[in-house]
């Protein structure tokens, strides 16, 4: 399929997003909306899942940050939360799940095993999921405390607010 042109109404903002006052305010408003309504997909494999459960439940609720809706379909989610060790057997599954997600999307690598392989350096474990998919926020810890996970969500929200928002109506496939 050829290139799909963006709708003319928005192309003016796309060109002047760096300079114009209205464009930056629109950027800010859309970022504000996006960061407080994240649908996340928890890809849980191992022990860090227990701390994810603690962070999701009543003591350290992360629903207060807008991340509460857990979808189990990657096509309907914004955030891929990779929690736990990824082995070579699981790697194609992770890639398939990531490929199904629609732009704009973000990835958080939670736990030492997802960040860099953790304490496992052997024939079976992928040394960090950034060898498979691009990652936005890395959470260290084995397992990370729930407060660390909440801190990472706040950092991600800052990132979403500040980045140049994707205002295109349809996706242009390169």
């Amino acid at each position: 399929m050829g290139k799909i042109r963006p709708i003319k109404k928005y192309s003016y903002y796309q060109k002047t997003a760096h300079g114009g006052f209205i464009a930056t305010k629109l950027n800010y408003a859309i970022g504000w909306g996006r960061k407080f309504s994240i649908f996340h997909y928890p890809f849980i494999t191992a022990c860090c899942g227990m701390e994810y459960m603690s962070a999701a439940c009543a003591h350290w609720d992360f629903d207060r940050f807008g991340v509460g809706m857990t979808t189990f379909s990657p096509r309907q989610s914004d955030l891929l939360f990779v929690v736990g060790t990824i082995t070579h057997k699981e790697a194609p599954v992770l890639k398939t799940v990531y490929d199904q997600m629609v732009e704009p999307n973000w990835v958080i690598a939670c736990g030492a095993c997802a960040v860099s392989g953790g304490i496992y350096d052997n024939y079976a474990v992928v040394q960090g999921i950034d060898k498979i998919i691009p990652v936005d926020v890395y959470i260290p810890g084995c397992p990370p405390r729930p407060e660390t996970i909440l801190n990472a969500l706040l950092k991600l929200q800052d990132k979403i607010q500040k980045q140049k928002q994707d205002l295109r109506w349809k996706i242009i496939k390169e």
Binding site: T45, A46, M53, A58, F72, G84, T87, E90, V93, A124
Partner: protein
């Protein structure tokens, strides 16, 4: 790659894949179902998505270094794995553990067992739709984790047990903290039994689903709550008592049918029995030296020790609270060469320094005699056994884990045959599959 199910399936039936990434909170497993409408005609289970090479890694690490790897096996009850590993080595080297350390190990094992059952039932009930129960159980688990964190330093992966004893003594307010956590747990258990025990929806969903008769359970090698739910009385704590379990009075609950409801009830009753065990241990535990206060800084003590033996107590860092030299006789064994010497000795005299150095140096350290040993403890899901082959060096030649949920999940294909697709989830939840133990 065609799987066995694809080769055997009939042409008209529907093949559904409950893939490795799925909403169930237990771990990564792939269940392929051959459906006839909504009934499961045949199924195939594929495991290995969390195989992290534990057994191969252990052959390259020293006995002391591989303690954190054992935490991450059954990650909901990490202290029981630690206890199992350490007791296997103690059996091989014939080391005696002081009595207070044995009681501390029993208390920690039982608290871990309660956390294991809480997590298993929380996940099982949440997947059936009882979300409130999940939140209640996690609340109780948080209280217990707070207590464990105050003593061991970490909520989950603690690495607290050492060869010959434990790492530090219990913190001073342990009694009051544990009693508070037990009160919260008892309230939660009472609320949940009021919500679920006689609930028509719960009974309809779990009674007579995935019935496992006792002969089948024994043939498949079931142990633990799943075996006791089928009516077979086997608990490692009663059959081959280890630590101080023979001096404590507790009951072993049994089920009747072997269906999902019985597995749920056995776990609920076992949690009450574990609470009783913890209470009895707190009463029977021998006392130890009370809190030790230091007076001089370590740098001063080192300077003083160049000429004479320092006569004042040394102020250690807060990390080492509970493992001072005065506490050592009650928490660690007196055998030589298997424990880290106390920091006061390492700082001030030559023998302590040499012992510390030799313990950690490659080639020296803990070197069990040549031989092989098998020892098992009662884990959260059943009989957790370690088989260690030692060749006299400081690295194990072969370490094999007998994971209880491996045998239970190998029966999953038989258990869900003939039931509906909605019964797969509570059945899978009641087996309490933990990925770290299944795939090692």
């Amino acid at each position: 790659m065609t799987t066995r199910l694809q080769k055997e399936a009939k042409k008209e039936s529907l093949l559904i894949n409950m893939g490795p990434s799925h909403p169930a909170m237990h771990g990564t497993i792939r269940i392929m179902l051959e459906l006839d409408g909504e009934k499961v005609h045949n199924s195939e289970v594929e495991v290995g998505y969390l195989h992290r090479g534990f057994e191969k890694t252990c052959e390259n690490k020293t006995y002391f270094n591989l303690l954190p790897y054992t935490d991450r096996l059954n990650y909901v009850s990490p202290l029981i794995n630690n206890v199992g590993y350490v007791m296997t080595i103690e059996k091989l080297m014939e080391i005696e553990v002081p009595e207070r350390a044995q009681y501390i190990r029993v208390i920690m094992s039982e608290l871990s067992r309660i956390c294991d059952h809480l997590t298993a039932l929380a996940a099982m009930t949440m997947e059936c739709g009882a979300f409130t129960v999940f939140l209640y159980y996690i609340k109780a688990r948080e209280e217990i984790w707070n207590v464990i964190e105050k003593t061991t330093g970490a909520r989950m992966t603690t690495s607290y047990i050492r060869i010959g004893g434990v790492r530090t003594d219990l913190h001073p307010d342990f009694g009051t903290d544990v009693k508070k956590a037990m009160k919260v747990t008892r309230d939660v258990l009472k609320d949940v039994s009021g919500l679920l025990d006689k609930n028509k929806i719960w009974i309809d969903r779990t009674r007579d689903v995935a019935v496992v008769p006792p002969e089948m359970a024994v043939n498949y090698g079931f142990t633990g709550p799943c075996l006791r739910a089928s009516g077979v009385k086997y608990d490692v704590r009663k059959a081959h008592p280890y630590l101080v379990y023979d001096q404590i009075d507790f009951m072993v609950p049994l089920g009747e049918n072997g269906d999902n409801y019985d597995r749920y009830m056995v776990r609920m009753k076992e949690m009450e029995q574990s609470l009783r065990i913890v209470e009895q241990c707190l009463e029977k535990m021998p006392e130890s030296v009370s809190e030790v206060k230091g007076e001089i800084e370590p740098a001063e003590a080192i300077k003083m020790s160049r000429t004479k033996k320092p006569d004042q107590k040394i102020k250690l860092s807060p990390n080492l609270k509970g493992s001072e030299k005065e506490k050592y006789p009650s928490i660690l064994t007196s055998s030589k060469g298997v424990k880290v010497p106390p920091k006061e000795d390492t700082y001030t005299n030559m023998e302590g320094l040499i012992n510390h150095f030799k313990f950690f140096m490659k080639g020296h350290g803990i070197r069990p005699p040549k031989g092989e040993v098998y020892f098992s403890v009662e884990g959260g899901s059943g009989e957790l056994g370690y088989y260690i082959v030692s060749d006299g060096t400081d690295q194990p030649y072969r370490l094999h884990l007998r994971g209880p949920c491996f045998h239970i999940v190998s029966a999953l294909e038989q258990m869900i045959k003939g039931h509906y697709i909605a019964d797969v989830i509570p059945t899978f939840g009641s087996t309490n599959m933990i990925g770290g133990e299944l795939d090692r």
